[in-house]
């Protein structure tokens, strides 16, 4: 159990290193799920639970001012506790989503102010030219924000397992079925949020083309992606996109010409 807790702590640390490692999506449930599964001795379950959480949380990316739930704590605790109590993917959802939501609140309320303290230290170090201290403050700042998650994940895992087993026992059947139904509904929220950032009158019809291609013809997402790229190429060829571009470039070049005469 101690070894497992340490490994869980390391997975948490990896998750919170996401932004240090290039925002490469290492923190997504689809990646963390299998790692947790491996530690818990059931990788297969980890992969499936990770994918289930991934789909439910597909909209959980920081778009605009929206800050998504903390997927790292949600995935690690949801998957590990679900596996240790012998429950299925629906239990990972039932546990993971509330944990992720609570952790977001903790990070925003407590983690961010600590982080800002170190960000202000960076200003000071830049002024005095102390680059080593600048780098150090930057490094600490990033982890300061997630410090509660880093600490809470192994603790909750160590002390929570038995409690969760009892908890899952008393949760009525329909609540877990309800969580399953909700998980299938949630992607709509994610896609609606994505669509909203891109939506304007010019591109709105393309949403429906994609939607009904799948609804009527059951084409896979990859297929739609290929068709959409080809379609965009066609639109460029026929000059629908970038029509104003050609004229403007000429104008810009003329500008440049004028510049040279000076």
């Amino acid at each position: 159990m101690i070894i497992k807790t340490i490994l869980i702590f390391l997975i948490g640390l990896l998750g919170y290193s996401e932004w240090l490692l290039g925002t490469s999506f290492l923190q997504r449930p689809i990646v963390l799920g299998p790692l947790v599964g491996l530690v818990m001795g059931d990788m297969q379950a980890g992969i499936i639970m990770g994918a289930t959480l991934e789909l439910a949380m597909i909209g959980a990316v920081s778009i605009g001012a929206y800050n998504p739930p903390d997927l790292i704590s949600g995935t690690i605790l949801g998957v590990s506790l679900a596996i240790s109590s012998g429950a299925g993917a629906d239990a990972a959802l039932t546990l993971g989503i509330p944990i992720a939501t609570v952790m977001l609140a903790v990070d925003t309320a407590l983690g961010q102010p600590i982080m800002l303290f170190f960000i202000h230290r960076c200003d000071k170090h830049a002024e005095t030219g102390n680059i080593k201290a600048f780098n150090r403050s930057m490094f600490i700042a990033g982890y300061a924000q997630s410090i509660f998650g880093i600490i809470c994940i192994p603790l909750a895992f160590y002390f929570g397992s038995s409690a969760v087993e009892k908890l899952l026992g008393v949760i009525p059947e329909f609540v877990q079925t309800g969580m399953d139904i909700t998980a299938a509904l949630l992607p709509a929220l994610g896609f609606a949020m994505l669509a909203q950032t891109m939506m304007n009158k010019k591109v709105a019809p393309f949403f429906f083309i994609g939607f009904f291609l799948v609804a009527y013809l059951k084409i896979s997402t990859t297929g739609v992606a290929i068709f959409s790229i080809l379609m965009v190429l066609m639109l460029i060829m026929f000059g629908v996109i970038g029509k104003q571009k050609g004229e403007a470039i000429v104008a810009a070049e003329e500008d440049g010409g004028d510049f040279d005469e000076f």
Binding site: M138, L189, L213, F227, A252
Partner: protein, 276 residues
Amino acid sequence: MNFSVHSNYEKKITKGDLKKVFWRSIPFEHSWNYERMGNVGYTYAMYPVLKKLYPDKDDLAQAMKRHLTLYNVTPYICTFPLGISAAMEEANTMEEEFDTESIGAVKSALMGPLSGIGDAFFWGTLRVIATGIGCSLAMKGNILGPLLFLLIFNVPHYFLRYFGTFLGYKLGSESITKIMASGLMDSVMEAASIVGMMVVGAMTMDMTAINFVTKIGSGEEATTLQDLLTDIVPGLPVLGLFGLVYWMLKKKMNPLLIMLVMLVFGIVGAFFGFLG
């Protein structure tokens, strides 16, 4: 268009310096904060260039301070404005009358359009495709799912991040102002949005599920509400759900609140047995 302004590394900044900028751009979002967002990350990445250009300690401190102002961009293409800033800082050390304020001005002007393209391409399109392919495999318990997810996203990501550095530097500030004025940025954004929208539409239908199991009619002719709806137009229930959520977001409802509403709806639906 004249791209030759900075195309040869005959000035102070070498290709190696720019490579350093690329490597140091990787933790760009590590210190992302609500106050000035990517300011520290940007300065951290700029450091090798600044250090070379400003041997004097005071000048260096000034330059760093200049980049510690608010900055935000999709992290995957942050090297592009970094490259431009590098070219401008270099120009600053070579031209007597260079206005340092223009460095910040060009940076800020790029923030909106670059994030627009970056968000539409990386978050709207590439991630959604990676998730779609990854999840369809992972749902069957296949380890290739998570691996492909990471590869599909990160190969283009690091490719663009790497070359963005050099592209930004080569374009410099002059050409970028021309490109912005030419509307090329808008066209790229439109193209990325079209692909993004189609994929999002496809994924909405593919990944979302709602099933009204209420029985209609009796005996032989009994059918569910779901069948009735999908007989009219396939995907109608999902489209209705999507429309409702979209409307809620438009009414400025908090996404977390919408999530809660869905949760209650799902559980109530399971309790009364009209959803399955």
